[in-house]
Symmetry: C2
Subunit: 317 residues, 2 copies
Amino acid sequence: MSETVPTRETIEAAHQLVAPWIHRTPVMTSQFFNRLCGAELFFKCENLQKIGAFKARGGLNAILSLSPEQLKNGVTTHSSGNHAQAIAFAAAKVGAKAYIVMPENSPLVKIRAVEEYGAEITFCVNTPEARQETVDQITEKTGATFIHPFNNYEVIAGQATATKELIEDVKAHLDVIVAPVGGGGLLSGTALSARYFSPETKVYAGEPEGAADAVLSFRSDKIEKAPYVKTIADGLLTYLGDKTFPIIKDHVTDVLLVSDEEIIAAMRYLWERMKIVVEPSGAVSLAAIIRNKEAFTGKKIGVILTGGNVDLGKLPF
Amino acid sequence: MSETVPTRETIEAAHQLVAPWIHRTPVMTSQFFNRLCGAELFFKCENLQKIGAFKARGGLNAILSLSPEQLKNGVTTHSSGNHAQAIAFAAAKVGAKAYIVMPENSPLVKIRAVEEYGAEITFCVNTPEARQETVDQITEKTGATFIHPFNNYEVIAGQATATKELIEDVKAHLDVIVAPVGGGGLLSGTALSARYFSPETKVYAGEPEGAADAVLSFRSDKIEKAPYVKTIADGLLTYLGDKTFPIIKDHVTDVLLVSDEEIIAAMRYLWERMKIVVEPSGAVSLAAIIRNKEAFTGKKIGVILTGGNVDLGKLPF
């Protein structure tokens, strides 16, 4: 695994590597949202990506970057969400074994999705310590390479390719790009791609009030944990890593908080008006724009819709 | 309004006319559905079209084909569904007045959508006779041009542009295209575009068992009504017209029936696996393919997903 921040060339190489395996997801526009926000919005629909989330990009780039010797021993990670599916999916593509550590209370639909790709699941109690410990046992026993969900430069470079495509596919110059922040893998990739491929574009993060670690870290200039964690945006619960935080600190303009009510409203708007299924975490960027629309009036805004993996039996509306 | 079946040139002209006002909707693919059906599926996502349905195409082509004198008196139609929105939307684009006749029991969400485009709504009791009578009164009083939801060659030529785009955007040769059938506007347009732009492609229709008029008409060679009308696919309740039936009879290979359970299952699959919102009528093509998958094994199949206008508060799952 690389130990240096992805360069422009690294991200270009990552894109070449993953492009044959992923969807070039559409960039959608909507008069309804343009009117609602008083701006021009370009939605990068990563909810329509393979496995239903942008994480396919990072997982693929990390696994395709491994040597045949490394792949022989397989890969491992811990995740209850989209990264688990991404690693299982990417490992299956190259015929490598994937060992996925999932909390024992993971939703059945997510467990099934990982199983479908032929990954081996190990369950553990749902604490960060237990997850890491279980992964450590697996790496020791199997020699599998651990692929962190976000604090990994190959993963960051992979996630960066979504914004590279967005910039290429929008004919106009984007004033702003908004991405959600959890551990910061997508956000740091977004920031790097904006810097390299559209340097005048400002990058903002959207973050749930109920997982407000990034906004604190951004202000205090060191990695902070959230004062409390309680949000429907279950993909954004974690805090920044030592690889993602410095990139975010350098290249992101601000972190914008949104409430769960705002997330659910944005999500419902996307379903009703754009006819696409977006998960709560995936609607955070739009929620941040709607809440701060006065600040964005008249701007051309790229909006990363990150994922669409929801349980239709448990909708918040 | 034209009195001759659209030619290749008519459909090309219609496409040029409507293209600036509509989305060129994406053609999506999914490994999941390919495996499920044992075929290669190309989904033309008209649920992502303006107003959430392909009907924007036909409405626009009909209205953009009118003379300035005709437009001065406005346009009128009767519809409780997507055609009402399409006419309201298209009239607003050209600054014409739209008089929409809707049954008094229309869903509030559909009434609101028509109002949003600034159309004038007249309510009537929900019988075909009352609808037509109310429209006749409007045309007499205002001189507005009546635009039939499907039995109109401009509307048919407009709907045909969806399949023209599908054929252009799929790099491979399509063996089959499947579209749902209600009044037959989309289906006859689909059949004409296939004939002109991909003559070796066979066109099949999907029809709900609870609105099985087209399959009867197809077998008996005259326009028939359904023996009973009861289906969740509320966009497909009507029977064929004297302009749509002959085209369908000539150019469609077969009409395939599906049950409401099969429609709901296909709809849910589309939401869960493709992360797109499709209404029951919009999932009928896929339901027909899944039910008849042995007949389609190994084929390259274009699938028209027609619309995504659903009430999220009333989902069948």
